[in-house]
């Protein structure tokens, strides 16, 4: 974008000030006491200068680049009052075993002051497979809750009024199916769709890039997503239809800048797909939300969130011509970095999570999940998840951080780092545009290669001691030290047996005629151009399983196969 020419100001005289300091004060000091060997870089290997001064903001225009909270380009936050108005939503991702176990955990978390639910599904559900699928062997209920059909979903939300909570569901390739089940539960509870508040992750592009939980190839997957966007714009107006996710990109080993760039490139891909499907950008863009990671490097993380808001606002307004300010605002959830936690001395993870959570809050997040200290070992125990929630509550109630809106704005260092990360991300986005957009870039393996490279580089830095991880390559305790020991949650093998029994019963008792008709109608819609959502809704109400619906759609759309990139 064009820069406004500026009169020489005090800031352009200042370099002499910094130069003077270097010569008169710094050099003699360094001669006496040299600095630590470094390198002085972020956890992502982004170089950090010794000292930021106003000289580092020579091209920075506070009116244009920073503005005020709640105003374009939202660098200082999407709400004018931020946490003075309303604290961020404390939303712990949770699910394990069967729907009954998870329903009990949800009721516990709500009773402890949690303000929203976040559903973790087990791996077979995430991959669109039933619990009795041969590939599901050993995975049922292990990483999340097993949901095969509407019957499980009814149990999951039993006694939880859907018009009084907001629910986030981490589900991607089969998102339309689990969302339809949620709608069917709302129907049974007598809750109107326009009272429903929540999010489906529904971000398939990052699956090909990072998380690898795909079913269909990219292009039909995008068609399902645009069908959901169109359906919600009409019928479920408060639902967030996609949570464009950098979290998994980062967990797969990307740098912070790559996370920023590939996530926004995915967002651009979805908006482009919506526009190409004939939707008005302002009809669906306000319902897109984001999901970022928060790793250990405090300033890099909070600057990443500030840069993300600025880039997105400009992309939406300038590139897509969105007119509704709600389309310009990047609202985000943040989760602290699972990959930063250590199995060694796991209690130290509480401290890591605190630093990461604080960065997310100072970066202006709308909701937050703090990881439990034991998550490199197993799903969290109740004690561990309670400490993680208390960490947020201490930041909110005791630290004083939420009292002032975007308190770090104007720091030379923070604004400079924000701008440098923005520029580096824009460079990636430009390269992706030149490849024809994110789908083409993914098909060419570009983000996948960049991430694999970064993750290998980081591991080498750790193995060679260039980057420190306390308890892993520095300050290591002996293997049998008490500090490694922690009680962990065990998932009983009986979960799988019970789930299979329930599924057998469901298949025996449901109305086969209604089921067959619903799936035949769904297949016809998939072959044609009709919106799939009403057909999927009818299928789940006929108690079609997740696996049966996915098998039906695979017959039309095919299955994705990856060329692995080492």
């Amino acid at each position: 974008m064009a820069k406004t020419p500026k009169e020489p100001t005090e800031s352009q005289v200042m370099p002499r000030g910094k130069q003077r300091w270097v010569e008169e004060t710094l050099r003699p000091a360094l001669e006496k006491n040299p600095e630590r060997p470094g390198p002085f870089t972020t956890v992502s290997d982004f170089p950090i200068e010794r000292l930021a001064t106003s000289e580092d903001l020579a091209d920075f225009d506070p009116e244009r680049d920073l503005a005020m909270p709640g105003e374009y380009p939202y660098t200082r936050g999407v709400h004018p009052t931020m946490y003075r108005g309303k604290l961020w939503t404390m939303r712990q991702f949770s699910g394990f075993g069967n729907a009954r176990h998870t329903n009990e955990r949800y009721k516990y978390l709500l009773s402890q002051g949690q303000t929203g639910l976040s559903v973790a599904f087990d791996l077979p559900t995430l991959m669109g497979r039933d619990s009795d699928d041969p590939m599901a062997l050993g995975e049922v209920g292990r990483e999340g809750v097993a949901i095969d059909s509407l019957a499980d979903m009814e149990t999951l939300f039993e006694g939880i009024p859907l018009d009084r909570i907001s629910t986030s569901m981490t589900i991607n390739s089969p998102a339309a199916i689990l969302f339809a089940m949620y709608l069917a539960v709302a129907d049974k509870q007598g809750v109107a769709y326009d009272k429903l508040d929540g999010t489906i992750q529904n971000d398939i592009l990052k699956e090909y890039i990072a998380q690898k939980e795909w079913i269909y190839p990219p292009r039909p997957s995008l068609r399902i997503i645009t069908d959901i966007m169109a359906f919600c714009a009409r019928s479920v107006p408060r639902w967030n239809t996609i949570s464009v996710s950098g979290y998994h990109i980062r967990e797969a080993g990307s740098t912070a800048v790559q996370e920023l760039a590939f996530t926004l490139a995915d967002g651009i891909g979805y908006v482009q797909a919506g526009v190409e499907a004939g939707l008005d950008v302002d009809a669906f863009a306000p319902r897109l939300s984001f999901f970022f990671n928060s790793h250990n490097d405090f300033f890099e993380e909070l600057c990443k969130l500030r840069a993300a808001r600025r880039i997105w606002a400009r992309v939406m307004r300038e590139r897509f011509g969105a007119k509704d300010p709600r389309s310009w605002k990047l609202r985000t959830h943040v989760q602290t970095a699972g990959c930063s936690l250590t199995a060694q001395q796991p209690y130290n993870n509480i401290v890591r999570v605190t630093v990461q959570a604080l960065a997310a809050v100072l970066g202006g997040t709308q909701s937050l999940h703090t990881n439990s200290m034991d998550e490199t070992l197993a799903l969290p125990s109740e004690m561990a998840v309670t400490i993680a929630l208390r960490t947020q509550q201490i930041i909110a109630e005791e630290s004083g951080v939420p009292n002032s809106v975007d308190p770090l704005a104007g720091s030379w260092f923070v604004e400079n780092l924000t701008s440098r990360m923005e520029a580096a991300a824009l460079d990636y986005i430009r390269r992706i545009d030149e490849m024809g957009g994110i789908v083409d870039a993914i098909e060419a393996g570009f983000p996948q290669r960049e991430i694999a490279e970064a993750s290998y580089h980081y591991q080498m830095q750790i193995d060679q001691g260039e980057k420190s991880i306390v308890g892993v390559n520095k300050y290591v305790a002996s293997k049998d030290d008490e500090s490694h020991k922690i009680p962990i949650l065990k998932i009983d093998m009986s979960v799988e047996r019970d789930q299979l029994e329930g599924l057998r019963k469901l298949r025996r008792d449901r109305d086969d005629g209604r089921l067959r008709k619903a799936l035949a109608d769904l297949e016809r819609a998939a072959r044609g151009g009709d919106n799939l959502m009403p057909r999927i809704l009818e299928s789940v109400k006929a108690y079609a399983t997740v696996g049966e619906i996915c098998t039906c759609l695979k017959g039309v759309f095919g299955e994705y196969r990856e060329q692995p990139v080492l």
């Binding site: 497979r129 062997l137 797969a252």
Partner: protein, 150 residues
């Protein structure tokens, strides 16, 4: 000690003068967490071993069939989904049935201590948990994995 990351490193081949060790590195089950396994595969390759990477979503049957066809000396599997108590014993069982009882199996992932003890009893040679360095894994392969036939 020579740099284990250099592809010029000769130490892997001096340990086994007849031929390079052949290793199958893979993901079994639905688990898509492949950050670690890809780093391990690349580090082992750079250390001079022959590495066959299976890619994602392999069944135990697929892994064992590839291991036997490719005549590997060891199978190295990554599991972060909690399914290790089902999938690893199954791979060992199928290797025995398929004439590959002498193919070593080692693994990495999110695997609690209690399970490690049990898996080792069942025949898993070693298990690497979060925080393991590629140096440790390379050293393990050099010292504990031997060619099936000379």
């Amino acid at each position: 000690m020579s740099n284990p990351y250099s592809s010029q490193s000769k130490s892997a081949t001096t340990a086994t003068p007849e031929r390079k060790l052949r290793l199958l590195v893979g993901k079994v089950g639905l688990d898509g967490h492949d950050r670690g396994v890809k780093i391990v595969a690349r580090a082992l390759r750079d250390a001079g071993f022959e590495v066959i990477y299976t890619g994602l979503h392999q069944t135990p049957e697929m892994v064992v069939s590839t291991a036997i066809q490719e005549d590997v000396d060891a199978v190295s599997l990554s599991i972060l989904s909690g399914a290790h108590m089902t999938l690893l014993p199954r791979v060992i069982e199928l290797l025995k049935q398929g004439g590959g009882a002498d193919i070593a199996v080692f693994a990495g992932g999110i695997i609690p201590d209690d399970d490690i003890a049990e898996l080792k009893q069942l025949g898993v040679l070693e298990i690497f948990t979060p925080g393991a360095s590629t140096k440790d894994i390379i050293e393990f392969v050099r010292t504990r994995i031997h060619p099936r036939r000379s």
